[in-house]
C-alpha cells in the first residue's frame, strides 16, 4: 500500500497544473454529458487533445495525442481537472464506445475517416442497439438488413436511442443472418443519420425532457463497406463496445461532487429553524452514505492498481455499475427527503432549489440503473461470472 505518487508522476502533475493555470480562463462552463457540444466545447476539446489531456493514448495518425497508455497519468489528469473545477475531456457515446471499437476492429479506412472528427467533437454518434422487443435480451434484436447489390437495406426500429435527434451518425446492430442462432446473425453497421428512410421521434422521459428517441428505418440503404468486423460478427463487435460502456459508469469523483453538494444542502435547509444536518436521522443517513462512498472510492483505487499491473480485479470490477448507480441514486434520494415538500417542486417553481437538479437527478439516475444493463442483469453477471453460479437454464424452443 503506497498512496503516494512517484516523483515522475508528481512532475507530471505539475505539468497538468501549469496547463490548467494557463488555460483555465478559456474553459467553457460545462460540456454537457451528451448531445452536440457547443463550438466553445469543441475548441476546448481540441486544445485538450493538442496538450494530451484528451484522447491521450489514441495514436496521432487517428487524431489523438499518441501517448503510451498509463493509467496513473490518466488518473492524475482526472484528479487535477476535477480539483480545478475545469471541464475535462468530452465524454459521449462516440468517444467512449465507438472509437475504442473502431480502433480494435475497424478497417484502416474507417479509423482514418471517423476517429479524428469524433474525438474533436465534430461528429456526434448515437448507439442503435435496443429495440422495443429487445432490451436486456439484446441479441434477440429484429431490425433486418438484407443485401441488395453493394448495399445493405435496413428495415426496423430502434428505441431508447440517446441523442439520436442531434447525432450525425449511428452505430447500429442489425440482423443480417436470420437463419443463424441469435448471437451469430448480427452485424454492426455505421451510417449517417441523414440517410434517406430514417425517422427520429423524440421520447419524453419521466424527467419531462426528451432525452432519447425512437428511430425508424424504412429501406435505408447503407454501403456494404460500412460494416465493422465481419458479417454475423456484430454481437462480438458490440460486446467490445459494451465493455467500454461499463467502464464509463460509476465515476467516484462525480459521486463525491454530488455528496459534497448534499452536505452543503443539509447545512442550508431548515425546518422549524433546525438545519437538516442537526437532525439526527438525516445526519445518520448522510454518514452512512459517506461510508459507502468511501468504500467505492477505495474500490476504485484498487481497480486502478490492478489495471496498471494488467491484473483482472474480478468481483471488484463486476460490482461497480450496480453499486455506484445505486449509491448515486441514494444520494439524490436523501437530498429530496431533506428538502421535504420543497423536494417535489419542479420546473420553474418559486422556492425551487438548485434549479431542480436533485429532482431531475433522482429520476434520471433511475434511468442509469436501468440503462446499459439493468440491476438484475448486473446481478446475473456477478453471480455467474463473479461467483461461478449456474447460468439460467435455457427454455426449450
Amino acid at each position: 500500500m503506497d498512496l503516494a505518487y512517484s516523483p515522475k508522476y508528481e512532475a507530471f502533475r505539475e505539468e497538468v497544473r501549469a496547463f490548467l493555470t494557463k488555460y483555465k480562463s478559456q474553459a467553457p462552463k460545462g460540456l454537457g454529458a451528451a448531445g452536440r457540444p457547443s463550438p466553445e466545447a469543441c475548441s476546448w476539446q481540441q486544445l485538450l487533445i493538442q496538450h494530451g489531456y484528451a484522447a491521450r493514448t489514441i495514436p496521432k495518425d487517428y487524431g489523438g495525442y499518441g501517448a503510451k497508455p498509463d493509467i496513473l497519468e490518466s488518473r492524475i489528469i482526472a484528479e487535477e481537472f476535477s480539483a480545478a473545477r475545469v471541464p475535462s475531456a468530452l465524454q459521449n457515446q462516440g468517444i467512449s464506445m465507438l472509437v475504442p471499437t473502431l480502433l480494435e476492429l475497424g478497417t484502416e479506412e474507417q479509423k482514418k475517416k471517423w476517429v479524428k472528427p469524433t474525438l474533436r467533437g465534430e461528429v456526434v454518434w448515437c448507439q442503435g442497439y435496443s429495440e422495443p422487443g429487445s432490451g436486456s435480451d439484446l441479441a434477440s434484436l429484429q431490425t433486418r438488413a438484407t443485401v441488395d447489390g453493394d448495399d445493405f437495406v435496413i428495415n426496423g426500429q430502434k428505441i431508447w436511442t440517446s441523442t439520436a435527434h442531434e447525432a450525425d451518425m449511428i452505430f447500429c446492430l442489425v440482423r443480417t443472418e436470420p437463419d443463424k442462432p441469435k448471437h451469430e446473425g448480427i452485424s454492426y453497421l455505421i451510417f449517417s443519420m441523414k440517410t434517406p428512410g430514417i425517422e427520429v421521434r423524440p421520447l419524453t422521459t419521466m424527467t419531462g425532457h426528451a432525452e432519447f428517441n425512437e428511430v425508424f428505418f424504412t429501406d435505408v440503404r447503407v454501403p456494404k463497406t460500412q460494416i465493422v468486423g465481419q458479417r454475423g460478427q456484430g454481437w462480438f463487435v458490440a460486446n467490445a463496445t459494451l465493455k467500454h460502456e461499463r467502464g464509463m459508469l460509476g465515476d467516484p469523483a462525480a459521486m463525491e461532487t454530488r455528496f459534497q453538494a448534499l452536505v452543503d444542502l443539509m447545512h442550508e435547509e431548515t425546518v422549524d429553524g433546525q438545519r437538516a444536518i442537526d437532525n439526527p436521522i438525516f445526519r445518520d443517513r448522510l454518514v452512512r452514505l459517506q461510508a459507502e462512498l468511501a468504500a467505492m472510492k477505495f474500490n476504485g483505487l484498487r481497480l486502478l492498481t490492478s489495471a496498471s499491473k494488467g491484473e483482472d480485479p474480478g468481483l471488484a470490477r463486476l460490482i461497480v455499475k450496480l453499486q455506484s448507480c445505486e449509491l448515486t441514486h441514494q444520494i439524490s434520494a436523501l437530498a429530496i427527503d431533506v428538502m421535504g415538500e420543497l423536494g417535489v417542486l419542479y420546473d420553474d417553481s418559486p422556492y425551487l432549489r438548485s434549479h431542480g437538479s436533485w429532482q431531475w437527478g433522482y429520476m434520471f439516475q433511475l434511468g442509469l440503473i436501468i440503462g446499459g444493463g439493468t440491476a438484475q442483469i448486473q446481478k446475473n453477471i456477478i453471480s455467474e461470472r463473479g461467483l461461478g453460479m449456474p447460468r439460467e437454464p435455457k427454455l426449450a424452443k
Binding site: D2, L72, L286, A291, E292, K379
Partner: protein
Amino acid sequence: MEFALSEEQRLLQDSVRRFLEQNSPLDKVRLAAGNTHTVQRSLWAGASELGIPGMLIPEDFGGMGLGFLDAAIVYEMFGRYVAPLPFLGTAVMAPLALMLAGSEAQQEKWLPKIAAGEIIAGVAVTESIGVREGAGVKAGKGTLTGKALFVVDWAEADLYIVADSDHGFHLVLPDAKGLSRRALDTIDKTRSVGELVFDQVSAEPLPRSSADAVARVIDAGRVMLAADTLGAGQMMIEKAVAYAGERKQFGRVIGSFQAVKHLCAEMAAALEPSRSLVWYAAHALDEVPGDARLMACHAKSHLSEVGRFVARTATEVHGGMGFTDLLGLHYWFKRIGFDRQLLGGPELVRLEAAHLQGWAA
C-alpha cells in the same frame, strides 16, 4: 501509487490462512466454543510461533514491528475461520495502549511477554464509548473504583488495561485485592468478554495516557472488528455459494434459481468494496493520521451493516440447514453479530463520525 496488498502481506495472510485451516477446523472451534472462557493454549502457542501476538510490537521488544494493515489482514483470517483466540485485546489493543501511554519500564516489562505469547492481556474501554448499567471506572490515588463491562479477552488474562472515565489507562493484575470478575456469556462463543468490578483496587497508571491515546486504541479495535467481519462475511458468502451449488430442490440445484443467485450477488456486491475500505482504514491508522479516526468509524459502521446483511442472507440461502447447528454456520453469524455491537454499534459510531466533521453539536 499502489492500492493493494504487498507480496509480503499476501504471504503473511496465506500463512495464517493455512495455520488456521489446519489447526482450527470447525470441529476444534466447536470444542473451544464449549469453553469460551478458557484460552486455547496450544492454538495460541501455534499463533505465537507465527509471531502473531507481537505483530504490532516493535522488534526491540521482541515483536515483528508490523503495521495495522498487517494486523487487519490477519484478523480477517481469524474471522474467516472464526478462530477462538484472544487477538483483539492481547495482540492489538493492549500493546497499542502500552506503546502509546506506557512508561519505558512498563513497556519493557510487558511487551516482550505479550510478543512471546506468554501472557493474555484484557482491555477495558467500553465505557469510554458509552456507559450502560451505571458502569464506569474512577481513578483515585493508585486505585480504581467502579465497574467495566465487555472487557475484551477477559478470560485467563494475566493483565488488564483499564481506561478510567478521565482518559487514563491503568494496569491491573487479575489477583489484585478488591477486584471481582464475572464472565459475560454472549452469542459468540469464540471470544471471551467479561466484567471487572473494582473496589479500591490498586492499579498502576500508564503515565502518558491521554484522550487521544484512548481514542486511538478504540480506533484500532474498530478497524480490527471490521476486518474480522470482512473475513467472516467472505466465508459465509463462499459457503452459501457452495451450498447452493450442491443442494437440489425441484430437480435443480438451488443455485440455479435466480432468487438465490441474486441474493448471492447482492452479498458479494456489498462486501467486495468493503474490503478496500478496511484496507484503507488500517493503512490510515499508520500512514494518514488526518483520516484515521473518520475511516475507523466508517469501516466499523459500514462493515457492521454489510456484515448483518451477509450473515442473515447467507443463512437464508442454506434454508433450514442454516438455522441448525449441523453446519456450524451460526458461528459466523454470531461472530458478525458480536463485531457489530462491540466498541460501538453503527448508529453510535456514525454519530462520532459526524462529530469528527463538525456535523453534530
